[in-house]
Symmetry: C2
Subunit: 202 residues, 2 copies
């Protein structure tokens, strides 16, 4: 069904781009665009600026794979964190969830996804080689696989476990408490903290 | 409950501003920010540009009150529209809805809200004086009050009706009835009664 254009091309383009954000459909994108235009000074101007700064400054940490304005990121550079523990997560959103929970004071490694042969995602598509390198570099005594309790997540965990065999690192995983099929980003802080405290040997 | 900061101040500010958009809460704002950062070239850069253009170019039409990149707006300047009919709406979103429906080929007048004494919204807070002026200017034969069928909307409609008394314009309002595709069982009694009273020959 053809959609009539309701506004000039500049507004239409703003609506079209906003509709690509997760959680916003075409209708809510129109509402968001209108809200931005109405709140020009309070919202549109600062958001345009924040996005411009993000474009300029935010990149991927070459060490852990998270996003930040510095490389290495603030977490990797934080000397107060336990340098001997790496928490392996699928996605930056999971790292954020663990940091929000203040569940652990260690460093991370962001895989960027899970193994999924059906989708053509192999080990070379994830940050697995760099994880092995970090562990081979020494100084890492424990790798915590904080990976979603999905089939793909657990397949990925097993693959990483195999790759780390022979290195002097303990590989652990999150305790039961993560619902089967559940995703970290949806869990409350208490559950995340408990799951980390009760982590078990892989 | 204090929320731990999970990322640098630039990312936190982006998340915080995104969370002010209608339809996005704190959680979905984080997802949106991460999505933007990951899709830097495909989404963040163009959206930042589109917002910058919006900041520079988009303003309020001094004639009808809608938002556009030109003043008067494209609709007010469109010579192919019926110049003798004004459609009065509460909000730009309503104008957009009528335009999407291609419901009428006329011009609009955006009130910018409804009368609401309890919220301190009086006639002087809405674009009512400018509506009267447009009608006094001549050339307008019909004013269609396309105002929401809420108590505030109908109060506003009556107020405008009173103000237009004595001018040579017909004031009409939208028909009440069963929405196209609507199911009787879901409609309130007022709508059903109105729809029956205004029944038309099949
Ligand atoms: Zn890092
Ligand atoms: Zn206009």
């Amino acid at each position: 069904m053809a959609q009539n254009k309701v506004a000039g091309p500049e507004i239409e383009r703003l609506i079209q781009l906003l509709s690509k954000l997760p959680g916003l459909g075409p209708r809510s994108a129109r509402r968001a665009a209108l809200h931005l235009i109405k709140k020009k000074d309070q919202l549109l101007v600062p958001l345009a600026e924040a996005m411009g700064i993000a474009v300029e400054k935010i990149g991927v940490c070459s060490s852990c794979g998270t996003v930040d304005t510095s490389d290495p990121c603030a977490i990797c550079c934080d000397a107060k964190r336990d340098q001997s523990v790496l928490v392996v997560v699928e996605d930056v959103a999971d790292l954020w969830a663990l940091e929000r929970a203040a569940a652990i004071n260690a460093r991370y490694h962001v895989l960027g996804g899970t193994l999924s042969p059906l989708d053509g995602v192999g080990p070379e598509d994830l940050n697995i080689a760099s994880l092995i390198e970090r562990c081979q570099g020494g100084g890492i005594s424990e790798v915590i696989l904080a990976i979603n309790a999905t089939v793909e997540g657990q397949t990925t965990a097993h693959y990483i476990m195999d790759q780390l065999t022979g290195l002097a690192v303990n590989v652990t995983r999150l305790a039961h408490g993560v619902p089967v099929g559940g995703e970290l980003d949806y869990l409350d802080e208490g559950t995340l903290t408990q799951a980390l405290r009760a982590r078990t040997r892989f």
